[in-house]
C-alpha cells in the first residue's frame, strides 16, 4: 500500500484530511451562526454580510489566497497582531485550514441556512413560552431540528476543503509535511515530466475520500432527519 504512492504523497493525504477536518469543525459554529443570522435576522448590512460570505465562491481562488497572504501573513494587518498573541496561520497547516475553511464557508452557510429557513418558528416560540431564553431555545430546539442540514453542510464543506488548491498554495505555500495538501501535491506532480501517474493516483485518493464523505452525508442526513422527525 505504502509503495503505491511515495511517502510524501501519503503525508499530503494525511495533512489534507487533518486540514479539511479542522477547517470544517472550526468553521462550523461560525457557519451555523452566520446562517442563522442571515435566515432569521433583519439587520442593516445583511446584504453585505451575505455578499462577503459568498466572496470566496466568486473570486478566483488565487485572489482569495493573496488577500489572505496580505492580511493574515506575518506582516499583514491581522497576521501581525495575531502572531503577537501566538496565533500564526502563515505557512502553517493552520493557515491551510483557514484557507480551506474560508473557501468552503459559502457552501456550508448555504446548506445550513436553507435548513434553518425550513424550521417552523412556532416551535421556537413554544419553547420561549415555556421559559427558555433565546440561546437555550436555539440549542435545544433549533439546533437539533437543523442537524441534518448542518451535517450536509459540514460534509460538503469537508469535500470542498479536500479539493481546495489555489487559495491554499498562494497563502501558505507548498511545504511538504507542513502545508503540502493533496491538491498541492497533485499540482507539483503535474509541473514536471513524468509526474502524471502519481498525480492520477492522488486524484483517485482525493475523489475516494470526498465521495465517501458525500455518501456518508446523504446516509447520515437521512437517518438524522428521521430521528429528528421522531419516526
Amino acid at each position: 500500500m505504502t509503495g503505491w504512492l511515495p511517502p510524501e504523497a501519503w503525508s499530503a493525504v494525511a495533512l489534507s484530511l487533518k486540514v479539511s477536518l479542522w477547517a470544517t469543525l472550526c468553521s462550523l459554529p461560525l457557519g451555523v451562526f452566520t446562517a442563522y443570522a442571515l435566515a432569521r435576522w433583519r439587520f442593516p448590512g445583511r446584504g453585505l454580510v451575505n455578499g462577503l460570505v459568498h466572496l470566496p465562491l466568486i473570486l478566483p481562488p488565487v485572489v482569495t489566497g493573496y488577500i489572505l497572504l496580505l492580511s493574515m501573513g506575518p506582516q499583514g494587518p491581522l497576521g501581525g497582531p495575531l502572531a503577537q498573541i501566538g496565533v500564526v496561520f502563515a505557512f502553517r497547516w493552520t493557515g491551510a485550514a483557514l484557507a480551506a475553511g474560508i473557501m468552503a464557508f459559502p457552501l456550508m452557510v448555504r446548506a445550513i441556512r436553507l435548513s434553518i429557513e425550513a424550521v417552523d418558528p412556532k416551535l421556537e416560540q413554544a419553547a420561549a413560552t415555556l421559559g427558555a431564553p433565546r440561546l437555550w431555545v436555539f440549542a435545544s430546539v433549533t439546533l437539533p431540528m437543523i442537524l441534518p442540514g448542518v451535517i450536509a453542510g459540514a460534509i460538503l464543506a469537508f469535500a470542498k476543503a479536500m479539493g481546495e488548491f489555489g487559495a491554499t498554495i498562494t497563502f501558505v505555500s507548498n511545504i511538504p509535511g507542513q502545508t503540502q495538501t493533496l491538491p498541492s501535491a497533485i499540482y507539483a506532480f503535474l509541473q514536471v515530466p513524468g509526474g502524471e501517474a502519481a498525480a492520477v493516483k492522488l486524484v483517485l485518493v482525493s475523489v475516494a475520500v470526498a465521495m465517501g464523505a458525500l455518501l456518508l452525508s446523504e446516509v447520515i442526513g437521512r437517518r438524522v432527519a428521521r430521528r429528528v422527525a421522531g419516526i
Binding site: 501573513g73 502563515a90 505555500s173 511545504i175 509541473q191 515530466p193 509526474g195
Partner: protein
C-alpha cells in the same frame, strides 16, 4: 547534524530538487523541505515574510525585485541554472529549422501554438521575445494559446490539442508524446537564468552548505538529467 532547511523553488524544478534534497539529506543528515510553486507566488510569499531560507526563481525579474527590497542576501545570489526554449510537436514531426526564414504560422496550418502566458510567465516571455527577434511574432500571435504555466502548454501539445508549442528544453526532455523539433537560438531571447539566493531573514546555519551543494557535482548531474544547463561553477 539534524538541521532543517526550507527551500522555495520554482515548480518546474521538482524532479531535480527531489533528487538533490534526497542526496543532501543522505550526505548531511539534515532535512530539506522544498516548497514548489510558481515563482511569482513564492516571491510574494517571501515579500510577506515567508519562513524560507533559500529561494530559487525561474526568472530574474522576481529575484531582482526581492533583491531591490533587501529581502535576499545579494552576496549569496548566483545564477544556478540556464535553460533553452524549444519548439515541440507531436511525436514524429519533422524538425524545423528555427530562424527568420521559417514560416511558423504556415507550419501551424491553422492549429494553435501552445505557450505559457506571453506577458506573465517566464517561458512565455522568452518565447515571445524569440519569435519577435525572428520576425515571426506578428504572424503567429493570433494562433498562440497561452497556458498558465509551461507544463500546461506542454500538455496541450502532448494531448494533441495544439500541433506545436514552445517550452523549456527541461520540460520536453521526459515527455514521450512529443518531440523537440527545434531549439531557439540563445541570442534570440534574454538569457534564461534560474538565480538562487539566501533570504536576508534566514539565519539558518545550513544555508551556505546547501547553496554549495547546489553547485556540487551531484546536483549538477541531477539538473542535467532533467535537461537544465548548469551555469553555476563549483
Amino acid at each position: 547534524g539534524e538541521g532543517r532547511l526550507t527551500v522555495f523553488a520554482a515548480a518546474s524544478m521538482k524532479n531535480a530538487m527531489d533528487e538533490i534534497a534526497a542526496g543532501y539529506e543522505a550526505e548531511t543528515g539534515n532535512v530539506v523541505d522544498v516548497s514548489l510553486a510558481g515563482s511569482s507566488a513564492l516571491a510574494r510569499q517571501i515579500q510577506q515574510g515567508a519562513p524560507a531560507d533559500i529561494f530559487i526563481s525561474a526568472n530574474t525579474d522576481w529575484m531582482d525585485r526581492l533583491e531591490a527590497e533587501g529581502l535576499i542576501n545579494a552576496d549569496s545570489r548566483f545564477d544556478l541554472l540556464g535553460n533553452a526554449i524549444v519548439l515541440v510537436a507531436a511525436k514524429g514531426a519533422a524538425p524545423v529549422d528555427i530562424g527568420p526564414d521559417m514560416d511558423l504560422a504556415a507550419r501551424l496550418n491553422g492549429g494553435r501554438l501552445a505557450m505559457a502566458l506571453v506577458e506573465a510567465v517566464p517561458a512565455g516571455i522568452y518565447g515571445k521575445a524569440s519569435l519577435e527577434a525572428l520576425g515571426q511574432w506578428d504572424s503567429v500571435a493570433p494562433m498562440v494559446a497561452q497556458a498558465d504555466n509551461v507544463r500546461a502548454a506542454l500538455a496541450l501539445v502532448a494531448v494533441g490539442a495544439a500541433p506545436m508549442g514552445i517550452v523549456y528544453a527541461s520540460d520536453a526532455v521526459a515527455e514521450p508524446r512529443v518531440d523537440v523539433v527545434g531549439t531557439f537560438p540563445a541570442d534570440s531571447h534574454p538569457p534564461i537564468v534560474y538565480p538562487a539566493a539566501k533570504l536576508s531573514s534566514s539565519d539558518n546555519p545550513l544555508d551556505a552548505g546547501f547553496l554549495a551543494y547546489l553547485r556540487g557535482a551531484e546536483a549538477r548531474a541531477a539538473f542535467e538529467r532533467q535537461g537544465f544547463a548548469v551555469l553555476a561553477q563549483e
